[in-house]
Symmetry: C2
Subunit: 180 residues, 2 copies
């Protein structure tokens, strides 16, 4: 995933981070993992990504320590992809970048809204609960719901249908999509 020797010269933690998650599909895969997507075919249908690209990106995210493989079925053996501790720490930058996109790069605002599970208050733009204060809410304390203002543009794949209801982040989605 490197950009070559010129890019390698960038002595910056940001450049290193971008080597891991800077490929755009990679951050969308990580986003889907926060939404609860774990299975290959669920990433496939929700992202509309070519199968070979998805395989390569998942393997790279596992190699970089962002995702880990965990069996969800023994016969035949099937693995899901779950966020590691390092992967879970991507919630902050991912949430903030998403909010930036909602403000500056879309017409009509965000497609999903994120609230503090404990009190139901929508998070602020850095992911802090305005009612409870303190540090940004970790993803385990966040519930997502579709933005009613964007209800007209829903997609019909199994993952999109699961995301129509309010859901805690990281709650596994096991769709009816056939196993890969």
């Amino acid at each position: 995933m490197a950009l070559g020797t010129d890019y390698e010269r960038q002595d910056c933690a940001l450049a290193r981070a971008l080597e891991v998650v800077g490929e755009r599909w990679s951050l969308l895969i990580v986003r889907d993992a926060f939404y609860g997507v774990q299975r290959f075919n669920d990433f496939l249908v929700h992202l509309g990504i070519p199968r070979a690209v998805l395989t390569a990106r998942l393997n790279a995210l596992v190699a970089a320590g962002v995702l880990r493989k965990e069996p969800y079925q023994q016969a035949p053996l099937r693995h899901g992809y779950l966020l590691t501790e390092a992967g879970l720490e991507l919630w902050g930058p991912l949430y903030q970048l998403s909010r930036w996109g909602g403000r500056h790069a879309t017409d009509g605002g965000p497609y999903h809204l994120f609230a503090h599970t404990a009190c139901g208050t929508d998070l602020d733009f850095v992911g802090v609960c305005p009612k409870c204060g303190g540090a940004p809410v970790p993803p385990t304390g966040v519930v997502m719901r579709p933005n009613p203002a964007r209800a007209g543009v829903r997609r019909e794949d199994p993952v999109s249908r699961a995301l129509v209801r309010p859901r805690p982040l990281l709650e596994p989605i096991a769709s009816a999509a056939p196993a890969a």
Copy 2:
């Protein structure tokens, strides 16, 4: 900068944000703009990026409303590239992604450290001043300095040399590099 029709189907503010800044060089250009780089040749020498790629990325960032062009010389006319209000709002996700890279994607920690100008306290991992509290410090209130632990790996281009001393973010760097 789009990833094609499959990518376009991603009805997500994050996907839209990644269309604007998801190309890895784009975020490094934005990072350099926070560091005070404004001139074409300074981006060129500091990023080690091919000239044609830099031209394309700068134009795309201007078109997306992240950077704006401003004259710094009249005869002959030369423009610098400055962050817009929307661009300035990328500080949060960029800082957090950089901190994530410093924790998980580099050996030896970050190359630069960031402190609250008003009190000199290093920012926490979401960009809040631990001493003053409250919201994340905006980039206009942040001073950067090289991490002494990484002093052995400095580069010798004019921008890297300017960044050897503590500097407020956004303070213009006007190096001795010849105008493009």
